[in-house]
């Protein structure tokens, strides 16, 4: 960020920084809770990838929709999932937005346009295409976005979803979070093509950005979304990033060694903080932001721990929607 940036831009960056930090601290807290045995199941953290969720969502309207994947905490929080509701769900409480039935891999808030994390690699793609179909049909001018990883590029649904969206002229943005890993394997050993070449082959509007710089992600997302919205067409945004932690918490990561300086250089929070400081923010200001978020998280976690245990009979009565709910 150069010195002559407008204060609006600085304001935008500050807002995005806060949002990224909130996601980071929320996931770090979650990791601690998980290590303590307080979080059931398994969890995939998006630490190091926050700039993508925050940058892309910054370019969306509140009524645009997002479909996500197994690494969906950041997408959900960025799209407006309440922090208390998040922890309540992750801890399996009845007050969680999914009433403790979904957990980490299924966080969702449909009222905020967050159509759910997803346990099936690739599945969000066609859900987003369908959401875009509804947007087009209902004429509200919304777009749909799907976040997926580089490993998901191998699923056939990618191909079907892109073609279907193109043929039907649907406003959907495909966001690939390319962190180089597909679980415990390097994606380079699974994917034989450059997504750029393939997207070009489909005739899609494609952009690639340094995914750890939230300003770049936001700017690119704004461009792609504007195009997608204006012309009711699919487009692609590929974001290069790093998966800082294991595939899931508890992953011993014997299959790779991480380079600490690489992480430092690319940490989306450091990148953003440096820019904010260059624009005149002090270390103290940033520390204060962090303190406030920590307080928010403390409260949310406390809240969540007090959540109630979901009742089995309640859940059983809710397997189906009832006519009134239509």
């Amino acid at each position: 960020m150069t010195a002559n940036n407008s204060s609006t831009e600085t304001g935008d960056l500050f807002a995005m920084y806060k949002e990224m930090l909130r996601i980071r601290l929320a996931e770090e807290r979650l990791a601690a809770l998980f290590a303590d045995g307080a979080v059931p199941g398994f969890i995939h953290l998006s630490i190091g990838q926050e700039a993508i969720a925050v940058g892309v969502v910054s370019a969306l309207n509140a009524d645009d929709t997002v479909a996500s994947n197994h690494r969906g905490h950041g997408h959900a929080l960025a799209k407006g999932l309440d922090l208390s509701a998040f922890y309540l769900e992750l801890l399996g409480k009845d007050e969680g937005l999914c009433r403790g039935r979904g957990g980490s891999m299924h966080v969702a808030d449909l009222s905020k346009g967050m159509l759910g994390a997803n346990g099936i690699v690739g599945a969000g793609m066609s859900i987003a295409v369908g959401s875009a179909l509804a947007h087009k049909s209902l004429g509200g001018g919304q777009v749909a976005v799907v976040f997926f990883g580089d490993g998901a590029l191998a699923e056939g649904l990618l191909h079907e979803s892109i073609n279907l969206a193109k043929i039907l002229g649907l406003p959907v943005l495909f966001v690939c979070e390319n962190n180089g890993w597909s679980e415990f394997s390097a994606t380079s050993e699974q994917i034989s093509f450059k997504f750029e070449s393939l997207a070009t082959g489909y005739g899609l509007n494609y952009m690639c950005v340094e995914g750890n710089d939230v300003r770049k992600v936001a700017a690119a997302a704004r461009k792609q979304i504007a195009d997608t919205r204006a012309h009711s067409v699919p487009s692609v945004l590929e974001c290069k990033t790093l998966r800082v932690r294991g595939h899931f918490e508890g992953d011993a990561q014997k299959y790779r060694s991480m380079d600490g300086t690489e992480i430092e250089d690319h940490d989306p929070l450091l990148v953003a903080a440096r820019a904010l400081q260059a624009d005149g923010m002090s270390e103290d200001d940033l520390a204060e932001v962090r303190r406030l978020i920590d307080v928010e998280i403390d409260l949310a976690v406390e809240d969540a721990k007090k959540g109630s245990t979901p009742d089995f009979a309640d859940a059983l009565a809710d397997v189906y929607a009832h006519q009134a709910g239509t």
Binding site: C98, R101, S126, L138, V319
Partner: protein, 324 residues
């Protein structure tokens, strides 16, 4: 009173549902200009336009996945999967996404969608174009499974499926499309989960659904000639299925035969038999006999397919076995 065929009955249901609710869209392969491979969507494109009658590429997984996303975002999609055998390509969307979204997201929103698909043989269409796979879907919490047996209930069941806030697998039978029936009130919706007693009798109960109900009726005629009066329960809906109707009938007849075209082993009949062998055990005076297809891929040659598919005399024999 109207005489109308099964395909037309379905077509009317689609047209009326689309007229009544602008959120209803239909989508599938060759369903627009071509009117669908079995003609069920004929005329809809002309009437409702290509925004609501959506011809898709040959992409079953994406079609049903998109329907799910659309249902979560305000539409009521009715998808056609051209042959039930091709539902194998869309199982993730049906089973892991559509079926679970309402429950797994804590009841935030319903997922109102219908997957229409024809099953069944009799056309020598071979192993990949004839299967009856409804038992799979009935095993999945969150799905409803409906299967009309004639033009008389096709309309009402499809209207009910489209109105339902849950994903409904709507199973049609290829052999029925051209079949006509007299229809009392051709415009009324039915209730999913209610069976119909289509023949009253006292000696044994035959439970069936879909095209096999006709086979059961044929068997009943054969049996009646010999003085045996069977009661026939047409399930109409397989998930949920009408336990009360089945138990009431078995309570009266004390004998139960279940007949369907699907493979007998691990088929729909197993669930009905198992349920009655538990909560209806005291009503039973004889073994429960199932009549279903042989354990074999649906074969092509006529001689094989006719051996494969249960017919009226198979059902007749099964009833006799319960009366021995």
């Amino acid at each position: 009173m109207e005489v109308i065929n099964y395909g037309r009955s379905l077509n009317n249901a689609l047209a009326d549902a689309m007229t009544d609710d602008s959120r209803v869209v239909v989508m599938g392969e060759d369903i627009g200009a071509a009117g669908g491979p079995f003609g069920v969507t004929r005329g809809l494109l002309e009437k409702f336009g290509s925004d609501r009658v959506i011809d898709t590429p040959i992409s079953e997984a994406a079609i049903v996945g998109a329907a799910t996303g659309a249902a979560m975002s305000g539409l009521k999609p009715v998808v056609e999967i051209m042959f039930m055998d091709f539902s194998t390509l869309a199982m993730d969307a049906i089973v892991n996404q559509a079926a679970k979204a309402h429950f797994m997201f804590g009841g935030q929103r319903p997922v109102p969608m219908v997957v229409r698909t024809p099953h069944g043989g009799g056309l020598n269409a071979g192993p990949q174009h004839s299967q009856c796979l409804e038992a799979w879907f009935a095993h999945i919490p969150g799905l409803k499974v409906v299967c009309p047996s004639s033009a008389a209930n096709a309309y009402g069941l499809l209207r009910a499926a489209i109105d339902d806030p849950n994903p409904v697998i709507f199973v049609e039978h290829k052999g029925l499309y051209a079949k006509k029936a007299e229809v009392e009130n051709s415009r009324s919706s039915q209730i999913i989960g209610k069976a119909a007693v289509v023949r009253v009798g006292t000696d044994a109960t035959i439970v069936s659904y879909g095209a096999s109900v006709n086979t059961a009726l044929e068997a009943a005629d054969l049996l009646a000639e010999k003085g045996i009066e069977v009661e026939i329960v047409d399930l109409q809906s397989i998930q949920p299925w009408d336990r009360d109707a089945v138990l009431d009938s078995v309570k009266k007849t004390n004998r139960l035969v279940i007949a369907h075209e699907a493979v007998e082993a691990f088929g729909v009949g197993a669930e009905i038999a198992a349920t009655v062998a538990d909560i209806g055990f005291d009503y039973l005076d004889a073994p429960i006999v199932r009549v279903g297809a042989a354990f074999m891929p649906v074969p092509f040659a006529a001689s094989l397919e006719s051996g494969y598919s249960p017919n009226a005399s198979d059902i007749e024999r099964a009833v006799r076995r319960t009366l021995d």
